[in-house]
């Protein structure tokens, strides 16, 4: 695989916060156009890794390349969408005003309607975000992170606190976007949504334990369920 085919190329990245190593030599490669799931328990380093991919954190060691460019690179960020774990929005602005703002700071003027229709919020576009339910805020936040039509979308646990119906809806959107040529990296600790990814990376204690398609991971662990595969592979790595 050539470097041009990679949307994300992380090699041996270390990040310490005091004595805690949040990332301890993590490496992963995400191909363009795939939906990559970063799977791991709370505190395993998922968020740290994603924040590093948008240049919010600098690695203590190792290299990070995004869309073929070395970070930090502010102009590159115009092609990256980032959805934070909590729905980071301006509660006193309307849905549409929020989306328009995030479009503008990425240098985009249009696409607001498309983004809001994608997450089924066009009808609520005039509502203040403070009046929205949790699920609607999540969708609004998603609209904000993809309104500038990024080539790479980083979603940090986008479906936490989202009901099953909406979760399915969101995943359908993710698959649509990937089909349209975008690369998506989703972090999660929920196994059933991991099954919908093209490839998975299992992360634990700041290290990538295993990588592959769902079928590959199951086969490698010799088990039926992904959850068991995850547990078995972590034990194997620890032992």
């Amino acid at each position: 695989m050539s470097a041009a085919d990679l949307a994300i190329d992380v090699a041996g990245v270390v990040k310490r916060f005091g004595s805690l190593a949040a990332l301890d030599g993590a490496s992963l490669q995400v191909r363009r156009g795939e939906v990559y799931g970063l799977l791991g328990p709370n505190g395993s380093g998922k968020t740290t890794l994603i924040r590093m991919l948008v240049g919010l954190l600098d690695p203590d060691a190792g290299t990070v390349q995004v869309l073929g460019r070395r970070l930090p690179d502010l102009d590159l960020l115009a092609r990256v969408g980032y959805m934070t774990q909590q729905a980071a929005l301006y509660p006193d602005l309307s849905v549409e005003e929020n989306v328009r703002f995030f479009a503008a700071i990425h240098g985009h003027q249009d696409g607001v309607r498309e983004a809001l229709e994608l997450v089924d919020l066009w009808d609520r576009r005039r509502s203040e975000v403070a009046t929205l339910s949790g699920g609607m805020r999540t969708r609004c936040s998603l609209a904000c992170s993809l309104v500038h039509e990024p080539d790479l979308l980083l979603l940090d646990e986008p479906t936490v606190g989202v009901d099953p119906q909406l979760r399915r809806q969101l995943w359908d959107r993710f698959r649509q976007m990937a089909a349209g040529g975008r690369t998506i990296l989703v972090s999660s600790h929920v196994m059933d949504e991991a099954e919908r990814c093209d490839r998975l990376g299992l992360i634990r204690s700041g290290r990538l334990l295993a990588e592959g398609t769902v079928a590959e991971l199951k086969a490698r662990a010799g088990v039926e369920r992904l959850e068991d595969a995850f547990l078995k592979l972590s034990e194997a790595a620890a032992g």
């Binding site: 240049g55 960020l77 990256v80 980032y82 301006y90 700071i105 992170s145």
Partner: protein, 364 residues
């Protein structure tokens, strides 16, 4: 009513404060600092107002009186010619002078009238009052002359008997109000940006740090300018605060204050992690400036070390500038106003640079 439930709330509050060292330090430290500062300003043995004595009297009484006032501990008086006195009055070196006319001794002996001329600079009421008091006290040496009436003829270079307290303090407070409110609003707004996570989103976008700071600055400056215009219009049209200068100049200075306050708010919010902590900056930033910027106590009479502090506070220059314009009618050709504007502008640049520099570090 359950005392146990009430007790639970009380205990929880105290537990929270136990961990919040910054708040505790403020709660128990700030009152002492503020009171100590106030005590030092008032009792610190600062300089007394400086005044001149112009003795044109041919008779003996003039020099008696001149010596008496030069001995006074309430003012620092020294003899000088009238031309010199007027020049120093204009430059602000002396807050006033007493002129004893050529026929002073004659007047006292023949008409039983003590009628010196007292000329005051007039822009700072505390100084004027001190000089008037010292002059009238010095006349007690003439009390031996039975039935003497003390009728000084007081004239003012700026201000005057037509001025009331509001005219003197209004000028300073117009600047202070804008500075204070804009500072608080910006600091809290910027922290909200961090608290709700949107700052992280901004930092993960192509936005440059100076773009964020400048965007904030322009946005809040627009609000601040509207506020400044409102404050100014209300002060001049409704309260009829005296204004001898150009309204546009006042507005210019207010605008600079607003820009300074916005950026100070952004800069200081970098050092707080919650809105609660940001509010704690208010007494630290505002109280010393109110005490030391010459709004209430003239900088020229402060104890030496405090004068050094006053001279590096931006509000000192803003207040001086406001008084220069509104009371003295200064325009841009005045070097003292040029200095005031330049210093406030300099502070603006300083906090813009500071806010930009600390932004990245604090978001990660």
């Amino acid at each position: 009513m359950s005392t146990r439930r009430i007790g639970a709330i009380t205990r929880r509050l105290l537990q929270q404060f136990r961990r919040d060292h910054r708040t505790l330090a403020l709660l128990f430290g700030a009152p002492l600092v503020i009171l100590a500062l106030l005590g030092y300003v008032l009792r610190g043995g600062g300089d007394v107002p400086r005044m001149g004595v112009v003795d044109l009297d041919g008779g003996p009484l003039g020099s008696v009186l001149a010596q008496e006032i030069e001995r006074s501990s309430a003012v620092s008086a020294s003899g000088m010619s009238q031309a010199e006195a007027e020049a120093r009055l204009r430059s602000g070196e002396i807050a006033g002078y007493m002129l004893l006319p050529a026929d002073f001794s004659n007047q006292v002996q023949q008409s039983r009238v003590v009628a010196p001329e007292v000329r005051l600079e007039g822009s700072q009421p505390n100084l004027s009052a001190a000089i008037l008091q010292a002059t009238s006290q010095s006349f007690t040496v003439l009390a031996g002359q039975a039935g003497v009436h003390f009728t000084p003829r007081v004239s003012y270079r700026y201000g005057g008997p037509g001025f009331d307290t509001l005219d003197y303090f209004g000028a300073a407070f117009i600047g202070l109000v804008v500075f204070f409110l804009v500072f608080v609003i910006t600091a809290v707004a910027f922290l909200r940006e961090r608290g709700q996570g949107t700052l992280e989103r901004l930092m993960a976008s192509p936005l440059r740090r100076p773009e964020i700071v400048l965007g904030y600055m322009v946005g809040f400056t627009v609000l601040a300018l509207i506020q400044a215009a409102e404050v100014l219009a209300f002060s001049l049209l409704v309260l009829h605060v005296h204004n001898g200068g150009n309204v546009l100049l006042i507005f210019l200075l207010e605008a600079l204050m607003a820009i300074f306050a916005v950026n100070l708010g952004i800069f200081l919010s970098m050092f707080a992690s919650t809105e609660f902590q940001a509010v704690q900056f208010i007494p630290l930033v505002v109280v010393p400036q109110v005490l030391l910027s010459g709004i209430i106590f003239p900088v020229s009479t402060e104890p030496g070390p405090l004068r050094v502090v006053s001279n590096v506070l931006p509000l000192t220059y803003a207040v001086d500038g406001m008084r220069n314009i509104m009371i003295k009618g200064a325009d841009l050709s005045w070097s003292s106003l040029q200095l005031d504007l330049a210093v406030v502008l300099g502070f603006c640049v300083l906090v813009i640079a500071g806010g930009t520099a600390t932004l990245r570090r604090r978001v990660a």
